[in-house]
């Protein structure tokens, strides 16, 4: 089993690194963020752009780079992505679980490990979604 996990890890990283500059956070949200990785934002913001985006749509921290969230919003509006993915765009994504860093998000998706959140967070999500 560890061999298989390592293989999956290598394949995932091999695919995602060149295309999305994947940092292997282990809890992939690409599908819900217009296929743009929020971990490439210098502030690693997972819930939309900071207030510092420049007038030309470039990043506050790296002026040579387009803001990740400007890109994500453009793609969400213009790419023919599945409707369910687009519906998840405005979800409140939970804080990154640092324990998952360097693990395979594919495996964590299958085992649902990537959906585990701290008890306080889980309770609030339950309450806010039930009304």
């Amino acid at each position: 089993m560890p061999k298989l996990l390592n293989l999956l890890l290598a394949v995932e990283h091999g695919m995602k690194k060149p295309v999305w500059d994947c940092t292997m956070c282990g809890q992939c949200v690409l599908h819900s963020t217009g296929m743009t990785c929020p971990m490439t934002c210098p502030k690693t913001l997972r819930n939309g752009p900071c207030g510092g985006v420049r007038e030309d749509g470039h990043c506050e921290v790296k002026p040579e780079m387009r803001c990740v969230w400007v890109k994500a919003y453009d793609r969400k509006v213009s790419l023919p992505l599945p409707t369910v993915w687009k519906e998840h765009y405005n979800d409140l994504r939970p804080p990154v679980d640092m324990q998952l860093k360097g693990t395979s998000s594919w495996v964590n998706l299958i085992t649902k490990r990537d959906q585990q959140t701290p008890a306080g967070w889980a309770k609030r999500q339950e309450e806010t979604h039930s009304h």
Binding site: P42, K43, T44, L45, R46, N47, G48, P49, C50, G51, G52, V53, R54, E55, G57, E60, V61, C67, W69, V70, Y73, D74, N90, L92, R93, P94, P95, V96, P118, A119, G120, W121, K123, R124, E127, T128
Partner: protein
């Protein structure tokens, strides 16, 4: 007891907030001077958290000092310098001292400050930090561990409707509202049409979310150029800079620009008040407040 919450939820009065000057020196004497200047006009004032990525006396300590001197704080917590444990500790500390207004911000990057070599944290982002404040309000920490007595935070945040992607700023504020924000102070901005679109969009969905646009008091065109060139997320159109720069009395032209901005913003849907940033430090603050129809100590 949050007077800010009371004024917003129980009255139709206009809410005026301001920025508490940073404290680097002058001790409590300086705190007292600032309080005396601001208290007559403002219902609550922001105690900032290492504003513009510069280290200063801390958010919690300034908020406590303000409260001791009789001015209600809105205690900011910025995600740049603190991980989720430190952020929750700030919140629990505020609760211990009876500070109810807290504002959760993502924050400028470390590169905006005078110690750009600093490690940036951003363990939480703004919307997540708001949600964590809501979790504490329900009586537990993020982990689920009990916090008793639970805080009764009036949760605020900040948004910049002037920065791209403009349409998305409305959706982002709605997300903050779902996370628990009840009041949103806005970044300083010089594009009235962007502000109009933003307020209309937000008020159409969440009419009870209090929108507080910002207006800055300056003496000349120079700070406009400075903000345009140096402050992240602020862009000032050239014709606005020219209007002040080419006037024979720059101080007067800058004043009228600010007054017009106030009057324009107050007429927009969802707007419950204004946030005034005073860079002039002269008697113009009083002049502005009086021109807006205010008299001292109206909130007491």
């Amino acid at each position: 007891m949050s007077k800010l919450r009371d004024v917003i939820t129980q009255t139709k009065d206009v809410v005026y907030t301001a920025e508490f000057p940073i404290i680097d020196g002058g001790g409590m004497e300086q705190v007292k001077k600032n309080v005396e200047r601001l208290a007559p006009w403002f219902v609550a004032v922001n105690a900032t958290d290492n504003t513009a990525a510069h280290a200063h006396a801390s958010n919690v300590s300034v908020a406590i000092a303000m409260k001791q001197h009789g001015l209600e704080p809105i205690m900011q917590i910025v995600c740049r310098d603190k991980n989720r444990l430190a952020i929750q500790a700030d919140m629990a500390g505020a609760n211990l001292h009876g500070i109810e207004n807290i504002a959760l911000l993502t924050g400028d990057d470390v590169t905006a400050g005078d110690e750009p070599e600093t490690r940036r944290v951003f363990d939480l982002d703004g919307p997540q930090a708001i949600n964590v404040a809501s979790i504490l309000n329900a009586g537990t920490y993020l982990s689920g561990r009990k916090l008793n007595p639970a805080p009764n935070f009036f949760i605020c945040s900040v948004e910049n409707p002037f920065a791209p992607p403009h349409d998305y700023r409305i959706e982002r504020v709605l997300k903050k509202h779902r996370a628990g924000a009840q009041m949103i102070q806005l970044q300083i901005g010089y594009y009235p049409e962007r502000l109009e679109k933003f307020c209309a969009g937000v008020a159409a969905t969440v009419p009870d979310l209090a929108i507080i646009p910002s207006v800055v008091l300056i003496k000349s065109a120079k700070p406009l150029s400075f903000m345009n060139d140096k402050v992240p997320g602020i862009s000032v159109p050239q014709d606005v800079i020219d209007r002040v720069a080419q006037s024979t009395d720059q101080a007067e032209a800058a004043y009228h620009l600010a007054l017009e901005q106030c009057q324009h913003a107050l007429a927009l849907p969802g707007v419950r008040g204004l946030h005034i940033t005073d860079f002039r430090h002269d008697d113009t603050l009083e002049r502005l407040m009086r021109d807006l129809g205010r008299t001292p100590n109206q909130y007491t």
